[in-house]
Assembly symmetry: C2
Homo-oligomer: 324 residues x 2
Amino acid sequence: MIKVGIVGYGNLGKGVTLAVSKASDMECVGIFTRRDPSALNPIVNYPVYSMEKLGAFKGEIDVLLLCGGSATDLPNNTANLLKDFNTVDSFDTHAKIPEYYDKLEKVAKENGTLSAISIGWDPGVFSIARMLFGAVLPDGNDYTFWGKGVSQGHSDAIRRIEGVKNAIQYTIPKEEALSAVRSGQNPKLSTRDKHLRECFVAVDDGVDKSAIEKAIKEMPNYFADYDTIVNFVSEEEVRSMQQKLSHGGFVFRSGNTTKENAHLLELSLKLDSNPELTGSVLVAYGRAVAKMAKEGKTGVVTVFDVPIKYLSPLTNEDLRKTLL
Amino acid sequence: MIKVGIVGYGNLGKGVTLAVSKASDMECVGIFTRRDPSALNPIVNYPVYSMEKLGAFKGEIDVLLLCGGSATDLPNNTANLLKDFNTVDSFDTHAKIPEYYDKLEKVAKENGTLSAISIGWDPGVFSIARMLFGAVLPDGNDYTFWGKGVSQGHSDAIRRIEGVKNAIQYTIPKEEALSAVRSGQNPKLSTRDKHLRECFVAVDDGVDKSAIEKAIKEMPNYFADYDTIVNFVSEEEVRSMQQKLSHGGFVFRSGNTTKENAHLLELSLKLDSNPELTGSVLVAYGRAVAKMAKEGKTGVVTVFDVPIKYLSPLTNEDLRKTLL
């Protein structure tokens, strides 16, 4: 049995907990939290400990599944945890991945540990598709679409506007763009062509709604380059939408092997729960980290480095027999 | 530069030749054929040699791209070639993969060579999807559909019927089945539910067409378990259809992380030329074999064993920066 520890119990931690409970080859040593452990009521009945207790489990956990956020949790904590434990995380601040990688690689090599970073569906499963498709079809174009799903960053940006009580923003791929890609036209698509942004906003009584709508639609970086729809709704409606964590997306590679012969490779995901699917990917790579660490591998790996056989509880013989 | 040799110049050999010509990090030492080399007019102007000359290139070729068939070429020849060269092949006789693997593993280990077997889109890219999806979503169902595309085995089976001059058979996924899977219903699908078989048959003058149609539709293993459409056409029409080598297919994983939350993962390919896309996959794995062999790896590998970073001509740093 692979012994795992779960660090953090937000939406992702809950998704990871569910995924661990479905893994026949894993046992959960504990969920570690910065909150009061007795206040946590995890969805599966695993022991809950305060983060301060984690050090006592050194040598008794094969891999820590890190469920913190990319803004502060992971950049601040992973390097420290990696001194004593193998880790998996979902670090997704794209521009900072090289820096994050270098920092952790040093710690892992010094301490003989192994860390899988940027694991999830994007970065993660989508990265595999982009890389594999591009290697197979070098003469072609990549297209990645996200949604329909909530963008936390864009929702936050709206909430920072004065007079806004609460807000949620959906990123929606445009059907015309998807169709153009699927038809093999290899279209040139601007930011505006690919995605639509739809916002549901609850505001204070008596505010100027048209001013808020203008502030959203003209917000640089977040909305100015997009077609944006703003709907004003009640706080209750926003809160109800915030319960649904569905998401999805598409990776396409469209290209040619000769002038006459075109090919279209497509990966698509439709997810009822973004954190539960992300958690499931994290757990599969947790299995891989535990196995590779046992074989003596140290350092930092991404989805590009891990042979996928390590993700499965099946033996290599069974994989070849049943899935090849 | 990675030095490759191409063994065999049928449809797949031609596809591999095109793919090598698009690989900026490869040079082709030669195409090796059992036919008269002077009679070959390859699509890219690479040197052509008789197979007997191949031995003289030992030490000068990083990887041989084997373009023979799975029925006799590969089972008879790969082990012998593997004594002196690293190889990649598209062996796809599913039931015999374990036996083929064991035989080659012994030769490769004895001779310090490396062989990637069963490379292409299925087995190959589809196998990656089945394995990755299943590891991520253990509580779910797999569905693989093939087509629309030609099945060589079924076309051959029709041609063996007395009175048939020529024939071509298309495997077609049924739209209702695809829709049921896409809607997340997790349907139980019989063989008949998933695929339709459409045949275009040219027959001798004066034969009993209804008898031939019956012989096709009732043929055990090949057609009896399917809905089959038989069209009688001219020899010219069959020949013209045989020029088009388009194919495609779908891999789905449909499953749940909780009772409420379902997910659908889908990979689909639409190919204008089956051998050109298969050849492109073979060349990407040829790159991987050359790199892994240089690092000292020996034995037999499948798509489950090869970290996908090896498929790309990009550096690991660039992959993380641009594709993660």
